[in-house]
Amino acid sequence: MLLRGKAHKFSDNVNTDYIISGKYKFKTLNMNELAKHVMEDLDPDFYSKIEKGDFIVAGQNFGSGSSREQAPLAIKHANISGVLAKSFARIFFRNAINTGLPVIECDTDKIDKGDKLRVDMAKGKIINETKNLTLDVNPLPSVMIEILNDGGLAKHFKKNKGFKI
């Protein structure tokens, strides 16, 4: 899986209420509708700034707070190809993999707003093309790689008739 796009930067502790507010997520399963409100409380115009394939790049504890799977789904449906952060909250991290949204732990201080990034999920490598830097990546547990490669947990579960570790 090879991903390319530019970086949109956010700070530490971006919680799931900021990713998609409770006032929207309880009333619909239309993820394209929810996608329009992604990160709205942090940047009201965020959705209109996204070009297909872009990355969200953040600090520590991305996705803290609630267990809402609408958070990774809204990001994915907003045409974001992946989230890069120094660290992730536990439930968001699982939900992202389960819904097929690539999430990568790395030193995001080496990425600035607008930098062009190339991410090779198979090799576990991030290249900051703007700064001509290669970033190290914390590898995923094996079960998560299996789930991501199958396109998310629903497909993985159907294919394997359960989990495959």
């Binding site: 409770g22 309880f26 504890n61 803290s64 267990s67």
Partner: protein
């Protein structure tokens, strides 16, 4: 090698001796989801090609986040839940029954040593009765509903030794706010936490739930406590099955141990907009308050309502302030009625609303206006959490919330004792 509570419970459920960082597929004893997460779980269940749930008695849906429904879109999702629950003959708690994290233990669905997953981040609440319980998303929940199994990474454990009893006017909410302030919002990410010691032993089960409930606010996967005679009595009143309890071994391996002496702890307040932004009440005293909320899975239990009523029977809510009270369950609501607490609340000027999560999650029942300050007994104060990005949320104990709505400004509850 010795094991922590988390390692023991996960070992028991995967029939293998496992330790921190092992990956396991474990059998779950109960699966829960609520109206914000169930619709996506039903979608995922169908995408997985599943026809039946693993055991209808071990699955429950709770309609609590928007209950009763404030919007047609929500109503349609509630109907989707009811239809699925009826088709599969699983437990459903409809509007008015209460908040999921009160209902699952209160209705006797779980006992100590169980492994439970719930599609709600505050599922970690049941650690207070010696249950390893953790929040998951909708797709994990669907997999667990279908197979009765889920994969886990066994978490390392942080042991928090809590010594000395809390003084009058200081509650378990103050204790957990203080700990979160010390450890920070991601201080226990991916970890289990064991809360052990004299301070915990002295607390009621109601008060213990408040602590385990907020373990996730420092990133924890579970917030575990020992099962003592109070736990055994509380559980036995609700579930007639025999159960075992789980203690850590003396030589268990902890990632770290922290010691706190709580004898001098003051009432605590988490300031906007993060839960770890914690100060003692005197640092924010006199901040103007427009609305108070008492309820939620953190502090909507009978003990909390009694604390509020004790103040409100002598002191009404300030004319410049509103107070919203949501008992955490129907049973608590009935008990509060029988004790005259509800009459006290209404006479004091509070608005008592249907048991549920509404005000805490911004779906309905008390969305603040621009620029307003809210003091709440809930567990999150993120910007926009209560439905308005331009409002400020302070978190505190039910006692501090009550004292503050009586005076119209943040107030040390000990002034009313």
């Amino acid at each position: 090698m010795g094991q922590t509570i988390a390692e023991k419970i996960l070992s028991n459920h995967c029939k293998n001796e496992v330790y921190a960082d092992d990956l396991v597929i474990a059998d779950v004893d109960f699966v829960m989801s609520q109206d914000g997460t169930t619709p996506l779980a039903i979608n995922a269940f169908e995408k997985m090609g599943q026809k039946t749930v693993f055991d209808p008695k071990k699955v429950a849906f709770v309609i609590d986040h928007s209950a009763p429904s404030p919007l047609e879109g929500v109503s349609n999702l509630h109907t989707l839940m009811r239809d699925f629950a009826n088709k599969h003959d699983i437990n459903i708690y409809d509007i008015g029954c209460g908040v999921c994290h009160q209902l699952i233990p209160e209705q006797g669905h779980i006992v100590p040593s169980n492994l439970v997953v719930g599609a709600d981040s505050h599922t970690c609440s049941y650690g207070a009765i010696n249950v390893f319980s953790t929040g998951v998303g909708s797709t994990d929940c669907a997999a667990a509903m279908a197979s009765g199994k889920l994969w886990f990474k066994v978490p390392p454990t942080i042991k928090i030794n809590c010594s000395r009893a809390l003084v009058k006017g200081v509650y378990s909410k103050d204790l957990i706010l203080y700990i979160i302030g010390e450890l920070s919002a991601d201080g226990a990410t991916y970890k289990a936490v064991e809360f052990i010691g004299e301070t915990i032993d002295n607390l009621s089960i109601d008060a213990r739930f408040t602590i385990s409930n907020m373990a996730v606010e420092m990133g924890a996967k579970a917030g575990l406590m020992l099962a003592d005679s109070k736990t055994k009595e509380w559980v036995s009143q609700r579930n007639s099955n025999r159960f075992i309890t789980v203690e850590p071994d003396n030589d268990a391996n902890y990632e770290k141990e922290l010691d706190f002496d709580f004898s001098n702890l003051k009432p605590q307040v988490a300031k906007p907009h993060t839960v770890d932004n914690v100060v003692s009440v005197d640092k924010v005293a006199d901040t103007t308050i427009h609305q108070g909320v008492i309820g939620t899975c953190t502090n909507g239990r009978l003990e909390d309502l009694k604390i509020a009523a004790n103040v409100l029977k002598k002191h009404p809510v300030s004319k410049n302030c509103r107070l919203i009270i949501a008992p955490a369950s129907k049973d608590i609501f009935i008990k509060a009625m029988k004790k005259g607490l509800i009459e006290t609340f209404v006479k004091a000027g509070a608005a008592v609303v249907t048991p549920g999560c509404g005000p805490c999650v911004g779906t309905h029942n008390g969305v603040p206006s621009d620029g307003e300050n809210v003091i709440s007994s809930a567990n999150r104060n993120f910007k926009g959490r209560m439905g308005n990005t331009n409002a400020n949320i302070f978190l505190a104990s039910p006692a501090t919330v009550t004292a503050s709505v009586v005076t119209g400004k943040i107030t040390d509850p000990r002034e009313f004792l």
